[in-house]
């Protein structure tokens, strides 16, 4: 069979070559990581069917469930949060009314980096990229009227994940929901903060200890909680290509599994609470192949490297967000189409949940109207496009299978390199990963400027645009209001209790005790994010990046 296909293919190529002399091909025929894309893919480009397999079965190339979206659609989960807890609470209720199926909380930078709103470092940042949370009081307002036993909540929080998780537990208790009933995810992926996102506080070692404390705590007390979302999203947005995104994310994942095992956790159990988070960019078929390759690689790694037997711990489950960095400020309506292509790639790639970006995000925070269009984009894909009717509809496409193999091969090369360097922490501390990403980002920029890469509306098909668009503004008075709220809370709480709980936390940090318990005690007496973080800063110190460009 292969022989006859090969013969016909060679004849076809010969014929095509002679045609090309008359009608030359024109365009950029490279993958986004600069490999040659062939004119045509045939069965000759597809390897062994065992590598493709069946959905719900090893190596999970075709998906982690047998029935995929026929059983349950992906969770439509829009990342949102801005201003004060009151305003964000309103936006969450609006999104839930509009048919969104889970919450995804955006915190402002001071909350993410462990500063209170009145800290000098917080100047201008309060409530800007997410909601400002200083203490349990804000968290109570944030989830007011939202029953925590009915929603699943994803929190984009890393360096201060232990504190925000503790607050979520405390809010649950006040609502009468026990912690073992809470469902959701904390991002909790500090390694990519050093690589790309930048909201680290402490050096890698104590940061990994806190993460391990969370893993251990949740394995005992919160069986439904996903304790980490290993994130390639920010690595990709920082400039990595699709291969690097998969490689570096999986290398981070390996590091977390290693430390969990060192802490005495069983990867057969712990592996089920791991989740991943990827970006989806414009190159539709590459992106589909990327998700499929990532799933296959992770299953192999868990099985072969960590000797995992439980099939559920081999499955790479992931959230996807469409790409913010591909959105243009020019002719922003075009972004609706970009988001559609990217969302389609995520669905064809078998994502478990999805955030679609709003068309105005290259200009400002999204308005309510543009957020609605973004959510509608997902609903149109789900209910009108028909792509959710069968499992892995692109499985068996010669090109997609060949791309899947190629991404896997190239990403495993990177992982081998990182193993040689001594693991991801070393690779980050030496600047290797950051340099690789920075190189790709620069190459991409050069390709755009030379027009090798066309961006519609930016370096081609440009029009004169006049009227400034309506954008969402965060009122600066908010910062003052939030600071007043914080001060009044501090004057009402039991400050002796706060002091005692913080001292207890400091003492625990100097031993090898699990920090989750003293952190929960501290948030319950309304110790602030800044106070708790500063207590740990005293013990652990702060990380200083090595500047690489």
């Amino acid at each position: 069979m292969d022989e006859s296909i090969k013969k016909s293919y060679e004849e076809w190529e010969k014929q095509t070559e002679s045609l090309i002399k008359k009608y030359p091909e024109e365009g950029n025929f490279k993958t986004t990581w600069s490999d040659e894309v062939k004119r045509l893919y045939t069965p000759l480009d597809v390897g062994d069917y065992s590598q493709i397999g069946f959905p719900g079965e090893f190596p999970y190339t075709r998906g982690v469930q047998n029935t995929m979206y026929r059983g349950k659609l992906w969770t439509m989960r829009q990342y949102a949060g801005f201003g004060t807890a009151e305003e964000s609470n309103k936006r969450y209720k609006y999104l839930l009314e509009q048919g969104q199926s889970g919450l995804s909380i955006a915190f402002d930078l001071p909350t993410q980096i462990g500063y209170d709103s009145d800290d000098p470092h917080s100047l201008g940042e309060v409530g800007k990229v997410g909601v400002a949370i200083d203490s349990l009081a804000d968290m109570e307002t944030l989830f007011d009227g939202i029953p925590l036993d009915k929603v699943s909540t994803s929190m984009t929080i890393n360096a201060t994940a232990s504190i925000l998780l503790a607050m979520y537990i405390a809010v649950g208790e006040k609502q009468g929901v026990k912690r073992d009933k809470l469902r959701g995810t904390i991002q909790n992926d500090i390694l990519k903060e050093y690589i790309a996102r930048g909201t680290y506080i402490y050096p890698p070692k104590p940061s990994m200890r806190i993460i391990n404390n969370i893993f251990e705590f949740c394995s005992k007390e919160m069986p439904l909680w996903n304790t980490i979302s290993v994130s390639g999203y920010h690595i990709r947005e920082a400039g990595a290509n699709a291969v690097q995104e998969v490689a570096f994310t999986i290398a981070d994942g390996i590091e977390y599994v290693k430390t969990a095992i060192e802490a005495g956790l069983d990867p057969n159990v712990f592996g089920k609470r791991l989740s991943f988070f990827f970006a989806s960019h414009n190159n539709l078929l590459e992106e589909v192949a990327k998700f499929r390759a990532a799933r296959r690689m992770w299953a192999k790694i868990m099985k072969e490297r960590f000797n995992v037997k439980d099939p559920d711990a081999l499955k790479l489950r992931f959230h996807t967000q469409t790409s913010g960095s591909t959105l243009t400020a020019q002719q922003p309506e075009n972004n609706i189409i970009r988001v559609t292509i990217q969302a389609l790639a995520a669905v064809l790639g078998g994502t478990q949940s999805l955030h679609t970006n709003s068309m105005d995000e290259a200009l400002s925070l999204p308005t309510e109207d543009s957020v609605r269009i973004a959510l509608r984009t997902q609903q149109i894909i789900a209910y009108e496009s028909g792509v959710a009717k069968t499992v892995d509809p692109l499985g068996g496409s010669y090109y997609v299978e060949a791309l899947t193999d190629e991404i896997e091969r190239r990403a495993f090369d990177y992982i081998k390199r990182i193993d040689e360097i001594g693991g991801m922490i070393n690779a980050i501390e030496s600047g290797y990963v950051q340099q690789e990403i920075s190189n790709s980002a620069y190459e991409y920029q050069k390709a755009v400027e030379s027009k090798e890469q066309i961006i519609v509306g930016v370096n081609d098909f440009v029009i004169e645009e006049k009227n400034p668009r309506k954008t969402l503004k965060i009122d600066d008075a908010l910062e003052i209001k939030q600071i007043e709220k914080l001060r009044s809370m501090k004057s009402k709480r039991d400050n002796d209790a706060v002091r005692e709980k913080l001292e207890n936390l400091e003492r625990a940090a100097r031993t090898s005790e699990n920090l989750m318990y003293p952190i929960i005690d501290a948030v319950k007496v309304y110790a602030t994010v800044g106070e708790i973080s500063n207590t740990l800063r005293k013990v652990f110190g702060e990380y200083k990046e090595s500047v690489i460009f």
């Binding site: 930078l109 001071p110 993410q112 980096i113 500063y115 000098p120 470092h121 917080s122 100047l123 201008g124 940042e125 800007k128 990229v129 903060e193 790309a196 996102r197 930048g198 909201t199 947005e237 920082a238 400039g239 960095s325 959105l327 243009t328 400020a329 020019q330 290259a362 200009l363 400002s364 925070l365 920075s438 980002a441 620069y442 920029q445 755009v448 400027e449 961006i455 930016v458 370096n459 400034p468 954008t471 503004k473 965060i474 600066d476 990046e545 500047v547 690489i548 460009f549």
Partner: protein, 130 residues
């Protein structure tokens, strides 16, 4: 040789743009210092003066620009420095207008080519020399 400081004030970690610009300016023959993320306005102004740079580029994508950029301009003025400042990031149009009124020489949004920025900087110093 034109000496440039690229700075990231505030808590914003989005440094892709800052790094790409830093590298493009270096490739265009300028001497470039990049501060890294999470610098206070005080630190940035101090570095600009200590390093005796010709021009300062500030990158912000977190929305904190209307607090941080005016603060940088104010501190430069206090120190009697006349280092010109340009800004890049996600800056809504009316904010850009206001920043220019306060003395920022240019505001660059997403999609700006590095060659445009290079030409602008070179042009600025050619005109300044006349």
């Amino acid at each position: 040789m034109i000496k440039v400081l690229i700075a990231k004030p505030g808590l914003d970690g989005h440094d892709r743009g800052a790094k790409v610009i830093a590298r493009a300016l270096r490739d265009a023959g300028m001497e470039v210092i990049y501060t890294g993320i999470r610098q206070t306005p005080e630190q940035i102004v101090q570095t600009a003066i200590d390093e005796d740079v010709d021009i300062l580029g500030v990158s912000i994508l977190s929305g904190a620009h209307m607090k941080l950029v005016p603060r940088i301009l104010e501190l430069l003025k206090e120190k009697g420095s006349r280092i010109p400042v340009f800004v890049g990031g996600i800056i809504p149009e009316d904010d850009a207008t206001e920043l220019k009124r306060l003395g920022v020489i240019e505001v660059y949004g997403p999609g700006t080519s590095t060659s445009e920025i290079i030409e602008k900087i070179k042009g600025y110093f050619e005109n300044a020399n006349i």
